[in-house]
Amino acid sequence: MEILVCVRRVPDTSENEIELNTAGNDIERDELVYSINEADNYAAEEALQIVARVGGNVTVATVGGEDDEEVLRREMAMGAHHGVLISDEAFSGSDGRGIATILKAFVDKGHYDLILTGVQAEDGGAQVGGMLAALLDYPFASLVNSIEVLDGKKLKISREIEGGNKEINEIDLPCVLSIQTGINEPRYVGMRGIRQVASVPIPTFGISNLGIESSAVGDAAAKVKRVDYFIPSLGKGAEILHGSREENIDKVLELVAAKGGLK
């Protein structure tokens, strides 16, 4: 099975406190630690596990700039067979539809049976997978938390719905699935693994290779634009205890007892 995994490099919220910059219109981007978007990493692992069972190849692709190559190499160190950087000045400022349009043009250049994305990026809208599927006229399922290959033509998948219940579906190939975190246990990638793929060439595709109309992507085509970031004032917030640890523990136990929690 030929599998394409669309990934993104994002600020890592487990490594960073996201704050506003001094101008108050963007997040502070200096010294941010970036990594692969968590759900995308699960998607890549799932693709690798599928080809380990049924054969095939995994291609990881990202729409971005040179800095984003590092996440492609990371996934190649995990075992992805190919990495592709889709990059062009004309793509900058694209909204979700723009990104999906770019990916659609890339998919049209190849032959993929299955396309995976992460369900959502840290700064994203859970949108590109569903849009890409609609542009390709492929079936789509979101929040996928298990995949079973039935035959060359269809999959049996499970979706995570409310209350931890699972919705089981059959879906025809080719299709697009957005992968939920927790579907598998992504393998560890060490520095050594990344060094081993450091010199593997990563082809770059731009707007002319992909035959995209410049009016369809980028800032000018975007119907949706972020204006600014802000920190909302959400009422009073918590009463922060400033005592010593011992004092705080005493206070917490007192409160727990007062609220009927300790018998």
């Binding site: 859970a126 590109v128 931890g164 802000f230 917030g237 705080n248 005493d250 409160l255 727990v256």
Partner: protein, 328 residues
């Protein structure tokens, strides 16, 4: 402004709460709007659900088809495309169904798409400005959306206060005949209920709930010891389950369990809305987190900025000490 439609989820003949929140969101986009509810389904359940909407919607469009008895997003999309005017503003709840339906619908309608909207900041000319959250709720963003060719907007459940529009007739318009037969590349087979697990976290008055801050599987014991000492149970947020440190049955949140304890100790939990959505009944919420900017502190009653890996064991010792005094 273009006509506003709200896609209403329903179950067992009753419209979902989100139906009334979407009506409120529509009124915030356009105070003069008379939004139209649109429902898909089959049989008596669909008819009954339509009847429950008269207080919020003057007009209710119903699409009945046996193929739509279970909401399959691809089929629903095809049905909606047959009946919706092309420049419509379509509101959809941001839940597992909305995530399936809305992005593709926006592509097929050639309209703008914004997801997981918490508030409408304003409308001017062809633009509306909405509020979203990014990075797990650590920051919010104003997002401008050009609605000149319509828009599909998913609305976060629980953010808009349901309003009753002047009691209308709730006129039900049957659009079924405009839809015709439907087929999809994805077929619903069955729903499998969540596994029960060893401990029922919904039965406890006190939950010691752990998040990513617990850092590794071995540290779960720290929370378990405190819970044991207090007669509480250990629950957790999504990252702990994703990392396979605890069973899914321990997860609190929209994709896990809904709990109603008296006291909720959020330990090393950042406070993503999906997690908070599982905490009901207004428990006394105590948050302990190293990061003073963690969103959990915005919703907690009491907050302590500390390392749970040091705080919790000391608290356990203190509880045991108190218990032994009482026992004597």
């Amino acid at each position: 402004m273009a006509r506003i439609f709200a896609y209403v989820m329903h179950r067992g003949g009753v419209a979902d709460d989100s139906a009334f929140e979407l009506a409120a969101a529509a009124r915030k986009i356009d105070a003069a709007a008379s939004p139209t509810a649109i429902l898909t389904g089959w049989g008596q359940d669909l008819d009954a659900a339509c009847e429950t909407l008269g207080s919020s919607y003057a007009e209710i469009w119903k699409i009945a088809s046996e193929a739509l008895a279970y909401p399959n997003a691809e089929l629903v999309r095809k049905a909606l495309l047959k009946v919706l005017p092309s420049d419509s503003i379509v509101l959809v709840p941001h839940d597992h169904f909305g995530i399936d339906l809305a992005p593709g619908l926006s592509i097929k309608m050639h309209s703008a798409f914004v997801s997981d909207v918490l508030d409408i900041a304003g409308a001017e000319g062809v633009d509306i400005e909405v509020v979203r959250q990014e990075f797990g709720g650590q920051v919010s963003a104003h997002v401008r959306c050009n609605i000149s060719t319509g828009a599909v907007i998913t609305i976060r459940p629980g953010e808009f206060k349901a309003v009753e529009i002047a009691p209308g007739s709730g006129l039900v318009v049957d659009k079924s005949r405009e839809v015709g037969s439907l087929a999809a590349g994805r077929r619903y087979l069955e729903t499998v209920a969540a596994e029960a697990g060893d401990v029922d976290i919904t039965k406890y008055n006190v939950l010691v709930s752990i998040g990513r801050g617990i850092q590794e599987k071995e540290n779960v014991a720290i929370a378990q010891e405190l819970a044991d000492a207090m007669g509480a149970a250990v629950s957790c947020s999504r990252p702990v389950v994703d990392a396979k440190w605890m069973e899914k049955s321990r997860q609190v949140g929209s994709s896990g369990k809904t709990v109603k304890p008296k006291v909720y100790l959020a330990c090393g939990i950042s406070g993503a809305f999906q997690h908070l959505a599982g905490i009901k009944g207004g428990p006394f919420l105590i948050a302990i987190n190293k990061n003073p900017k963690a969103p959990i502190f915005q919703v907690a009653d009491v907050g302590i900025v500390d390392d749970i890996l040091e705080f919790l064991p000391e608290m356990t010792n203190k509880v045991r000490e108190l218990r032994s005094v009482v026992a004597k």
